[in-house]
């Protein structure tokens, strides 16, 4: 129901974005297009790339209207047009065997598997840490500030080193990627879970005290079920973070498998269309993962009676 209701506005917004996008392609690509036209022998104004260097893109477009269609068909556009990306996506997903190294499905799977492993590790670590923090004052006081500080370290910048260091102690392949992805995903889980495990109010806790319930009983019967809505909310953030982590780890990992590898090699060879299609694929993957978690959330919360 809710999906149907928002579909209209979403479509309109998406249409508007595409419209803006198509317009923006012209000024973004006009210089390259003119230069190519000039090389091909067309007359353009003004002549000479050096002369055009500091001119405004819109002015150039107005003076060279004949070149505008070419802005949508460049091989190496500054901004590819949506249909170029769509064509590339089609070409690399539907038209290629999924076992082919040129298939985005193949690369998507490589990234996905590391993401899922990292997400699982991160979630488990996050939950354990949260349980510790909630049950031990010492952990609460000492760990939490450092957990926050840990997220200010630009892990993305030192990912290559982490890979090398892990490599040097014999950890290779899927695991290093998963570890970086876990590093990014554990934090939202800790924060959400600590909040969730602490939602039971004093009254609910007191109720169990009048039953003389022990810690274990309190945890399984009260804290854990009460924290589930928070857990799911943070899982959605965490899974997106895990995906980013994996892609980052894939950049330097060499080999070039995975969506990160696609983006990297795309950027070596200036293949903007390739970068963009890998980007879109990554975003689709993230959206799919988040959707999957919402689905699990809805089902399990309904089972638990936490949602109607």
């Amino acid at each position: 129901m809710a999906h149907v209701r928002t579909a209209g506005p979403v479509l309109v917004v998406v249409a508007a974005i595409f419209a803006i996008w198509y317009v923006a392609v012209i000024p973004m690509n006009i210089k390259d297009a003119i230069t190519q036209a000039e090389r091909a022998g067309a007359t353009v104004s003004p002549e000479g790339a050096q002369a055009r260097r500091d001119m405004s893109a819109i002015g150039l477009a107005v003076r060279n209207t004949a070149v505008i269609p070419a802005t949508y068909a460049l091989d190496r556009p500054r901004l590819p047009a949506p249909h170029q990306i769509a064509a590339e996506l089609w070409d690399t997903t539907i038209d290629k065997k999924i076992t082919s190294k040129r298939s985005l499905v193949f690369h998507g799977w490589v990234t996905l598997s590391a993401t899922l492993l990292g997400f699982a590790i991160g979630t488990a670590a996050g939950i354990l840490l949260a349980v510790g923090i909630v049950h031990s004052r010492a952990m609460d006081m000492s760990v939490m500030p450092w957990a926050i500080a840990s997220q200010t370290i630009p892990i993305l910048a030192i990912a290559p080193m982490v890979i090398v260091v892990l490599n040097s102690i014999g950890v290779q392949g899927l695991i290093p990627k998963a570890i970086i992805s876990a590093y990014l995903s554990f934090f939202p889980v800790v924060v959400g879970m600590v909040k969730g495990l602490r939602t039971p109010d004093a009254m609910q806790m007191d109720l169990l005290r009048t039953y003389n319930a022990n810690r274990n009983q309190t945890f399984w019967r009260l804290r854990l079920p009460a924290s589930l809505p928070f857990l799911f909310a943070s899982l959605k953030i965490a899974v997106a973070a895990a995906l980013v982590g994996t892609i980052v780890a894939e950049l330097p990992a060499g080999g070039g498998r995975g969506l990160g590898g696609r983006m990297l090699t795309g950027s070596y060879y200036g293949q903007m269309i390739q970068i963009w299609s890998a980007l879109v694929m990554a975003a689709l993957l993230a959206a799919g993962l988040v959707f999957l978690i919402s689905l699990i959330e809805r089902i399990s919360l309904r089972r638990l009676g936490l949602a109607s």
């Binding site: 500054r78 193949f106 690369h107 040097s168 330097p252 060499g254 200036g270």
Partner: protein, 307 residues
């Protein structure tokens, strides 16, 4: 079989064709070696991998290897399949640049990550400051692609004769729109892709023996690649995990690479080494290396391998 791990300094491409050919054609196997080739990337420092024990042999440019040596990581060159340098600066002709003198006041893209040393030495020798300003060069840390040039964010960028230069051409630029400055021609060439191992490992005769066989097989691969460039390029393509390389580009790259490896049988030419060291020592106020390196290369392996 004896295991050997080789760390490349870049992603899989024809620049490393010799090793892939040796692997594919079974040259390593013939030497009773089980070789793993690890591709590199923009942020992987091969010396670091070597130091961590993640690889037995690495490929590296000599300036970077010598700098690592000064940093206390004793790496030793055991073979030098690349005789000639492929590094150059590529500039737009319409900027009016005709000689290094004209770099003053320009913006130039340079690869860092240990690859800036040759450029900095060269500019120090020319007496041009690299701190920007009217008379100096504004240096950009260029990403590993040619966009800064195409977008005219830089007047010149670093390119390899075998790779980036052709990317510029592929982008539709004709050769006569460009001016190139090969380091080789400027007399500031430094040795590129050599094989390096940790000095302490060389004390182990077994390791040494492994390396002898490795170098022998690798050089066999290289020579095979030189003779069969198209086949070599195909082999490289098969080994490319990212599926992003194109046949046309790799075949052309192999052709260019063959020119650089042509003059070498794998043994390092002491004269080349001396020239490299001199260039680097001349690095002006902030030289790359401060003293003549000792024991930075050995001919022991190649001697055993090639004779």
């Amino acid at each position: 079989a004896d295991e050997v791990t080789l760390q490349l300094q870049w992603v899989t491409q024809a620049q490393f064709a010799g090793y892939y050919v040796a692997l594919d054609k079974g040259f390593y196997e013939e030497e009773n070696l089980d070789v793993t080739i690890q591709a590199g990337g923009p942020d992987i420092a091969p010396p670091q991998v070597l130091a961590g024990g993640g690889a037995d042999v690495m490929l590296n440019w000599m300036p970077s290897a010598l700098a690592a040596r000064e940093k206390g990581l004793p790496v030793v060159n055991i073979a030098q399949p690349f005789k000639t340098s492929g590094l150059m600066l590529t500039c737009w002709k319409d900027t009016g640049i005709t000689s290094p003198e004209d770099f003053k006041g320009r913006t130039i893209g340079v690869w860092f990550f240990g690859n800036e040393y040759p450029f900095l030495s060269w500019m120090a020798q020319e007496g041009i400051s690299t701190d920007g300003g009217e008379d100096g060069i504004t240096v950009l840390k260029q990403g590993f692609n040619v966009d800064p040039l195409l977008q005219r964010q830089a007047d010149c960028i670093s390119t390899m004769t075998y790779n980036e230069y052709w990317q510029v051409i592929d982008a539709g630029v004709s050769e006569d729109e460009l001016v190139t400055f090969k380091y080789e021609d400027q007399g500031v060439a430094t040795l590129e892709d050599g094989m390096y191992v940790l000095e302490e490992n060389l004390e182990d005769p077994e390791f040494k023996d492994k390396m002898v066989r490795f170098v022998r097989a690798s050089m066999k691969g290289w020579k095979y690649a030189e003779e069969n460039p198209d086949e070599a390029a195909e082999i490289v393509l098969e080994n490319d995990e990212s599926g992003a390389q194109t046949e046309q580009h790799q075949k052309r790259m192999m052709g260019e690479i063959a020119k650089l490896t042509a003059g070498s049988n794998g043994a390092l030419d002491e004269a080349d080494f001396k020239r490299t060291v001199e260039t680097l020592l001349a690095g002006g106020s902030d030289p790359v290396i401060t003293k003549e390196p000792e024991g930075a290369w050995t001919s022991e392996i190649t001697d055993a391998a090639l004779n």
